[in-house]
């Protein structure tokens, strides 16, 4: 039997460090938001030729950002409204014969409400999870430990996203929000499986000490945790490598989240549960 709980201070330290770095990035650099959140315009073009001259052209537009894609380029900006977008489109069509693929305009009024709604959904989910686990496992300690692991996963994912945002211009868009909410449910899904085992061992009474019960449960469930996340990773890797460009970062977010969810169940949720039980005694 491997004593997983022995190194709990190390897990907490490691996770704490990653969370601090991520939150620092959020505080220092923030995020790149998609126009769904801040309003503005976006035009995507198909353009097979060299995009460097196009990029040069955009140096004169200070409030527009230029982004190269696999098959062309994207132009966007918070101040790009209908009139400006139409003028710009005419110019690009004439000069480069680029083909318009996607065109989006979002008014700024849509935006702030959406952020609040998402936060509401997240908070409600946390509450529902806490109550559901506390009820079905008949102990608030399980609920609280699962929620700590969930917050751990969410914070790290958000922090990593801020770093990716800063380094590669990856956006916070509706799909990223979806992925955060999914990761929240996946994280708990994974934790429940381990907690179910711990509860069963508690009932069976093969081991008396909480430490042994948890360690034995972790030994039993480790293969399942790893195999399960491997299958999800296979699916998501296929999506990242072969899927369309527009869901690539979405798949990346889910992939990071899956890894976090698998890691946090034995290494965060279980030690936290152990500490809660030990304190209660």
């Amino acid at each position: 039997m491997i004593d997983f709980l022995k190194y709990r201070r190390f897990y907490f330290l490691l996770s704490g460090l990653v969370i601090v770095v991520g939150l620092f990035s959020v505080w220092r650099f923030g995020f790149e938001y998609s126009i769904d959140f801040i309003g503005g315009g976006l035009i995507e073009y198909n353009y097979q030729k060299n995009t460097e001259p196009v990029k040069e052209l955009f140096k004169q537009y200070e409030d527009l950002s230029f982004q190269k894609t696999n098959h062309g380029f994207i132009v966007k900006g918070t101040k790009l409204d209908k009139k400006k977008a139409e003028q710009l489109d005419k110019k690009i069509k004439q000069k480069y014969q680029a083909k318009k693929k996607r065109f989006e305009l979002v008014g700024p009024s849509v935006t702030r409400d959406n952020v609040i709604k998402i936060i509401n959904a997240a908070l409600l989910s946390v509450l529902v999870i806490l109550i559901y686990i506390a009820l079905s496992f008949k102990s608030w300690r399980f609920g609280l430990a699962a929620v700590v692991a969930l917050l751990h996963d969410t914070l790290i994912l958000v922090g990593i996203w801020s770093i990716l945002s800063h380094l590669f211009g990856v956006e916070v868009d509706v799909l990223f929000v979806t992925s955060v909410l999914t990761i929240m449910s996946f994280s708990v899904h994974d934790t429940i499986v381990i907690f179910d085992q711990i509860r069963e061992e508690e009932k069976q009474g093969t081991y008396q000490d909480t430490k042994d019960i948890i360690n034995w449960s972790l030994n039993l469930t480790m293969a399942r945790s790893i195999n399960n996340s491997l299958t999800i990773l296979l699916m998501l890797s296929a999506l990242i490598v072969l899927g369309g460009e527009s869901i690539r970062w979405f798949a990346v977010a889910l992939l990071i989240g899956t890894l976090l969810g698998t890691y946090s169940s034995p290494f965060i949720a279980s030690p936290v549960y152990y500490l809660l039980v030990k304190k209660g005694k």
């Binding site: 995507e44 708990v188 999800i232």
Partner: protein, 445 residues
């Protein structure tokens, strides 16, 4: 599971295969007859309600290309008790206008967002959203005005100045407008027919103004002012003017649709070209198939015999999912596909949980059938708790009661819907079907 249940399962599988099939016509050999094994559309009437099953998976705008428009209804000037009626009427009028545009299955929804009312319009495959925006936002106000004159004194000179006073007769009383052609000149004209109330107003109005001009205003602009010859009792009028056939058609459409009861403002506009959509579908489907196959290979590699069972249950899972998407008419978007792919992962999880438990029991118990049985039931409680939890989250994300404090975006909803369906189907194939196959293999009673 007895023979009856196996037969039922076989029937279900056959039915799903049939549901997934594209349009299928078979020619009977030696005859000229063709029978339709799979029609384009099936109509079933249940309790007087007509259900329509389309033989195709409905794709969202991001997958098939098209335009999404979001309008804000300005309800500031309305009385509170009129808001519901006016916003619903605005939605209906927008729908009428969009229908003139000739797009297949436009999706028009009224969204309530706190105190704000919005109408979202989804036009599939529509290439020119600008025209649609123009048509939707157009407010055609028709009214009739009476001719009057007044004396204007300027210095020593006085002049008689004609002007028009708005009458009670407006487009509100219009029953129908039609495009007709002048029999002599062949020019397009618009013929108007008023409803009962409008007829009466028109009759009094014409009676009062015999031998005087009666002006027709469109959008506050004088269009024509014919002189009334006699009282008109049948509620019919004709507008003549210098317009082209196209203009006349548009006017007729706008008049028939009626004026919007509230001013609208375009908030959001998103257009995806069909080519980008096609690329997305093909790539995602390909990725899904490869992902699914690699999962099956992995399962067989790790769990051998049981891995094959997992492969079968996964195959059935994919089949049932596609059949359900078609039968329920779920609109599949990019995030929906992602939800499906993720739910595959969660469906596999049920299998892994069961097989890991069985492995564990096999180590303890020599009697294989008993080990399989115990392992299976031990895995159930974890599967149950974990999946109920995911379904609860799906419920919050899907927001079925349209709570204004939760997200209402299509992308989040599509994802939650496919994930929830995936979880339920995953339980059916991963638990129920897996159990029966295992029971058969290990001859468990």
């Amino acid at each position: 599971m007895n023979k009856k249940k196996w037969a039922l399962l076989a029937l279900l599988i056959l039915f799903s295969v049939w549901a997934v099939l594209p349009l299928l016509l078979v020619t009977i050999p030696y005859t000229e007859k063709e029978i339709t094994l799979k029609p384009e559309e099936i109509k079933v009437s249940i309790f007087g309600k007509e259900l329509n099953f389309q033989n195709k998976i409905r794709l969202g705008l991001d997958l098939q290309g098209g335009s999404h428009l979001l309008f804000l209804l300005d309800t500031n000037k309305l009385l509170k008790e009129n808001v519901t009626e006016a916003t619903n009427a605005a939605r209906d009028i927008i729908e009428k206008r969009v229908n003139f545009f000739g797009v297949a299955e436009p999706q028009i929804f009224l969204l309530k967002d706190g105190q704000k009312y919005k109408v979202s319009v989804d036009l599939a495959g529509n290439k020119n959203p600008q025209e649609a925006i123009k048509l939707i936002g157009r407010t055609v106000q028709l009214d009739f005005r009476e001719y009057q004159t007044k004396k204007v004194q300027q210095g020593t000179e006085s002049a008689v100045v004609p002007y028009f006073v708005p009458s009670k007769l407006t487009g509100q009383y219009l029953k129908k407008a039609t495009l007709v052609f002048d029999q002599q000149t062949g020019k397009p004209q618009i013929s108007l027919l008023f409803d009962e109330q409008g007829k009466k107003i028109f009759a009094t109005l014409t009676k009062k103004n015999i031998k005087k001009p009666l002006a027709i205003f469109l959008d506050n602009q004088l269009l024509t002012a014919p002189v009334v010859q006699q009282e008109i009792k049948d509620g019919k009028a004709v507008i003549t003017g210098e317009f082209s056939i196209e203009e006349a058609k548009e006017l007729v459409n706008s008049l028939n649709a009626g004026a919007l009861p509230v001013p609208i403002k375009l908030l959001e506009q998103k257009t995806v070209e069909a080519t980008l959509g096609k690329e997305n579908v093909q790539k995602s489907l390909f990725a899904g198939v490869i992902g699914l196959l690699s999962v099956v290979v992995f399962m067989v590699g790790v769990y051998r015999k049981e891995g094959v069972v997992a492969g079968i249950s996964l195959g059935l899972y994919a089949l049932f999912s596609l059949a359900l998407y078609k039968l329920l008419g779920i609109v599949l978007t990019m995030s929906g596909i992602a939800g499906f792919i993720l739910s595959v992962g969660m469906a596999v999880d049920a299998n892994i949980l069961i097989y890991e438990r069985i492995k564990e029991e096999k180590r303890k118990i020599n009697d294989q059938p008993r080990a399989v049985r115990t392992g299976f039931f031990r895995a159930l409680s974890a599967i149950k708790s974990a999946n109920i939890n995911t379904l609860l989250i799906c419920l919050i994300l899907f927001n079925p009661f349209n709570f204004a404090f939760l997200p209402q975006f299509g992308a989040v909803r599509g994802f939650a819907l496919t994930l929830a369906l995936g979880v339920i189907l995953g339980l059916f194939t991963g638990v129920f079907i897996t159990k029966n196959i295992l029971w058969k293999i290990y001859k468990i009673e």
